[in-house]
Amino acid sequence: MIGLIVLAIFITLIILAVLIIENDDLPHSVILFMGFGLASVILYFIFSAPDVALTEAVIGTGISGVVFLVTLLQIRSREIKR
């Protein structure tokens, strides 16, 4: 059962990675990146590394995604003004 969950998460990770790269809409890509982080959090937790899972949840999914989104919004507001 746990092996099936791990396999499903691995396939999800690969699909998400391809979607992140191939996406033309950058904010959409960032949100998919945060989803990638969330899936890897579950994977780390299943592989009994809760410390790494917590770090990934806080830094990989939270702060870095928000910093990406903020940067994109700054660039976009500048483009609209021009």
Partner: protein, 235 residues
């Protein structure tokens, strides 16, 4: 995928070299007979004697590899320093995320102390449960991020206080290390009583180190987020 693209000579060259090296190194990788459990088992045995920390990952990060943690904290400080150096000229009071959302503004007033409390919980219980200084510090910084997003110009942080907090906590980390040299034999040595395992006051010097690391990381990430949110228009 565009197959019409010509393959560059350098790309072909690099890929040939990489494949040759892979074939040459493959026997070494296959024969690499590392008994991966030996180091972990010996660390766990030393952990019971020397640090008495319930979370053995924490004792590896802050006690056995405490010098590495000092290096990581320095790397984080240098990256934030570089961002501050690059973006200092573009700072402005205008915050582009000042949405007039009354629901968010009211909810943030309730959530802000709770998130900070949770961050301090993660920091202080770093030697008992998963988590620690880095994670708790970033959680505290995310509370400040929420305030920035919701309040806009009504909420601002004092950069002098932030940098003072960051400098004092970094100095505290190094002070603990030097006290380890003076009182015990080595840098970041344990000079406090170990206590009983799985209690809050246990693990010797580990909770103190993690408290300093947590405060330092929270100040740094808060400064980072503040720099990115308040950028003036470049024209």
């Amino acid at each position: 995928m565009n197959l019409k693209k010509e393959i560059r000579v350098s790309t072909l060259f690099v890929s040939i070299i990489v494949s040759i090296m892979t074939i040459l190194l493959l026997p070494i990788f296959l024969d690499f007979n590392l008994t991966a459990t030996s180091l972990g088992e010996s660390l766990l045995k030393i952990n019971e004697i020397e640090t008495n920390s319930a979370n053995s990952v924490t004792s590896v990060v802050t006690y056995f590899r405490g010098f590495d943690t000092l290096g990581e904290v320095t790397i984080l400080f240098l990256s934030i320093f570089g961002i501050g150096l690059g973006l200092e000229g573009y700072r402005d009071k205008l915050n582009i995320f000042a949405y007039e959302n009354r629901l968010l503004k009211t909810a943030v007033d309730v959530l802000f102390p709770l998130i900070i409390l949770f961050g301090f919980y993660i920091i202080i219980h770093g030697h008992l449960s998963p988590g620690g200084g880095f994670q708790g510090g970033v959680i505290i910084a995310s509370a400040f991020l929420l305030m920035f997003l919701a309040k806009g110009d009504e909420f601002s942080i004092n950069h002098k206080i932030i940098s003072l907090t960051e400098a004092l906590s970094g100095a505290g980390f190094i002070l603990i290390g030097i006290l380890g040299v003076v009182l015990v034999d080595r840098f970041l040595g344990n000079f406090l009583p170990l206590g009983t395992i799985k209690e809050l006051f246990s693990g010797g010097v580990i909770p103190l180190i993690y408290i300093f690391v947590g405060i330092k990381v929270s100040a740094e990430i808060t400064a980072l987020v503040e720099y990115f949110i308040r950028i003036k228009d470049v024209k």
